[in-house]
């Protein structure tokens, strides 16, 4: 069915409607997440009070602390209270650190974002290059080599990769710090140096999948008539892929990237632990072990938002890249 050609405005309108829809369903998802988190965290043994007192928890001490923390109220009440607070823009108060959750998050979120952003800057171009190259050499030696390497990379446990990196670059060569000590002040370069290895490890982890997706998406296009047409126009291979194919293959690629990149925030637990990087993921693990529900919830919310917005960005890019949708 041929879409009737119409003006650009309606295209933007279409985008806006999509955005609106997404935000709406996003809110629903967020609520579900908070509910799920709350329910499963309800299954966890012990609570904040018990964890705080740890080994030294005697019943009456725990009871007293519970009471003081307001943990003695029924779960539903606590959840609703928290939800109300959140709607009022207040993510709550961390019982364990006894400071506002917002403050804790504020101290960690930037770190995570920086790490994720830098890793993205490394991983995405790398993935594209690998994917495109092997797509152009489809079935060739180089293609197979890249394929296997990326697979092996994704197959090795990340803590192994990270530790090897540390042994080589930090312990042996002493080029880079073994733990990511974010310099309080100091320029971008110091930051890069401090984060070099976390970035390296994270990139290695996410690159493989993105590269494979890119390859697949491009190969899918290479079979289409317009590609043959371009060849018959005398277009060079490089131009063919970059100018003709890529814009059409971008949708699935960005979609895969959205998924992989959302891993950079929440999936970084191990990397954060190994490089002792104060990021959100380890914070969330922390919140779990210390039973700090408001904090746990806040982290979950953030990761969910990150994921949703990444997917949204992906869709938007896909739409912008496709004139059919752009001015629908």
């Amino acid at each position: 069915m041929a879409a009737p050609p119409t003006s650009r405005e309606s295209g933007n309108a279409f985008l806006l409607i999509l955005l609106a829809k997404r935000v709406a369903s996003g809110l629903l998802t967020l609520f579900l997440v908070s509910l799920v988190v709350f329910i499963i965290s309800g299954l966890l043994p012990g609570d904040a009070a018990q964890e705080m007192l740890g080994q030294s928890a005697t019943p009456e001490a725990v009871a007293a602390l519970r009471q003081q923390m307001g943990l003695d109220q029924p779960a539903a009440v606590r959840f609703l209270r928290w939800l109300a607070g959140l709607l009022g823009g207040d993510p709550g108060f961390s019982l364990v650190a006894n400071m506002p959750v917002a403050d804790i998050i504020a101290s960690r979120l930037p770190n995570s974002l920086i790490l994720a952003a830098l890793s993205t800057l490394v991983a995405v171009p790398l993935a594209l290059t690998i994917g495109i190259t092997s797509a152009m050499r489809q079935g060739g030696r180089l293609d197979r080599a890249l394929n296997t390497t990326t697979l092996a990379m994704v197959a090795l446990p990340e803590f192994l990769i990270a530790t090897i990196a540390v042994l080589i670059f930090a312990v042996e060569l002493r080029w880079l710090p073994s733990i990511a000590l974010v310099p309080a002040q100091g320029g971008f370069l110091d930051l890069l140096r401090a984060l070099a290895m976390p970035i390296l490890s994270l990139s290695i982890i996410v690159v493989a999948q993105m590269a494979r997706m890119t390859r697949a998406a491009i190969i899918a296009q290479l079979g289409l008539p317009y590609v043959e047409m371009a060849r018959l126009k005398g277009v060079s291979p490089a131009r063919l892929v970059l100018v003709h194919v890529l814009p059409n293959a971008i949708a699935p690629i960005v979609n895969a990237m959205a998924l992989s990149l959302s891993y950079l925030l929440g999936g970084a637990v191990i990397v954060e632990t190994i490089f002792n990087y104060p990021g959100l993921a380890s914070l969330m693990v922390n919140a779990v072990t210390s039973r700090d529900m408001p904090l746990l919830q806040a982290c979950a919310m953030i990761f969910c938002c990150a994921y949703l917005s990444l997917v949204l960005i992906a869709d938007t890019v896909a739409i912008l890249a496709n004139p059919r949708l752009r001015n629908r």
């Binding site: 050609p5 018959l232 005398g234 890249a321």
Partner: protein
Amino acid sequence: MKPHVEVKGLRVTAGGKDDSAITIVEGVDFTIPRGGVLALIGESGSGKTTIALTLMGYARSGCRIAGGSIRLGDTDILGLDEPGLAALRGDRVAYIAQSAAASFNPSKRIMDQVVEPALIHGRMDRKTAEAKAVSLFKALALPQPDSIGNRYPHQLSGGQLQRLMAAMALITGPELVILDEPTTALDVTTQIEVLRAFKHAVASQGATAIYVSHDLAVVAQMADQILVLNKGRVREAGVAAQVLQSPTDDYTRTLMAAARPAPKPAPAVPPAQAPLLEIKGLFAGYGKVDNTGRPEIPVLRDISLSIAKGATLGVIGESGSGKSTLARVVAGLIRPASGAVNFDGQRLPGGLEQRSRDQFRRIQLVFQNADTALNPAHSVEEILGRPLRFYHGLKGAAQRKRMAELLDLIRLPASLAGRACSGLSGGQKQRINLARALAAKPDLILCDEVTSALDTVVGAAILDLLAELRRELGLAYMFISHDIGTVCAICDDIMVLYGGTAVEIGPRAAYQAPPFHPYTDLLVGSVPELRAGWLEEQAARPAPPAIGPALDGADLCRFLPRCTARIDGLCNQFTPPRHHLPGGSDILCHHPEAVN
């Protein structure tokens, strides 16, 4: 003087370098004088496209040019290396692909794509290139030549894209142009325009051309030499007129025969039969339905028809006329917005859910493209077995027996049953597709363009088959097609759809001679005849007379914008009435005595 293009002993193989490779083109020689037009004729698999592409030193993946020589001017094309070929392609030799819709990059503006050859071959700078493009657009009679370049492919019609592709091919002023079935995907009414544009443009450039087609009538208009191909070998070669008038090769003769299917004798339908299928005031489309029963985006408007038991109704119209939608409504895939669909006296539920298994059984839908209509994961056995079990509870031996009968019915060997259908040829698939419908023992088969995707010869065979089945089983058909020739060949009654309205409906005979509805007239007049010079004879149609603004809101004639017989103050003001023509058909038009 030596010919401009010279091909000797051309051989193309597929599947590897070793002897496992099979030959798909063998010992083809031909020459074309400068400025001449050579037509390559054959069915799919005849290797015509493969040969055409070799002139750009190009072989599709899996194939390679294994032998022979190709000379263009003073260049030995097979002697060129990749960069050499890249320099040649799109510059000295240009290609116009079969489906322009698929061959344009969907995500780039037309202009960028049209001027690309000129730019990458460094012929001219962007400015001059765009100027040249616009002039070509004009020459090719494209609407809004100055702005059309800013459009995207999906915003343009097939005919426009095909012409734009020609512009893209001609922008570098190539010495050889290859046209690969350039009008096959188009409606006849557009085809004639495009052919005219091509012929003029190519001639004015003095380029040599190779015209690849399976349609002799079209070739007759374009070529001065013809090469008839079959299974990669030359069957007959010669001057166009000679090949067309007195073909020496019998394969050529079969092609000619198939090109114009003879009318099939209709079985004597007992008169005054209660209609099998009866549609009254049908509206269908997309979006929500208003209180008057009109959908937001109407596709079918006020359709009424009836098919008697064993009768055949042909539905003809160009793409977007709603003919397929009609079939889907009857099949239950699309709910009608309003109007009644009665089957064998009783009302058919709109949706699938409410229909009884027997109703499902008695109405079968056969799709145009057997490749997508047959599940690639299933074997012939599974495909035919399912309806047998589903409708008639046939299992084991009984099922096998019936399956053999079916295969026999569609003239296929019973041994085929075990095969996966991805292994079958186009014709075989279409027969299986048909057999699946027959397996249900239906009363009515909805045939949606069942022959359009097939080669003429194969298509003709399927038509014969349909006619025979009809005689043997007393089936009724709703036969949907864009080709009036095919429809006339098999149908008792014909309905002409335009923009979702039935502009004309009447017995086959009524379509043999005017008067017609203006659109029918255009349709009939656009079918090329199998003789050279026909195209020239068809005087370019006059532009529609100027009329005042159309009264919006009113339910006007859908053909108004293209109609050359439109009457100001009438057609643009009032809903067209239904007239009965002496020929026996009813038309929807303001003209009491329609055009002739």
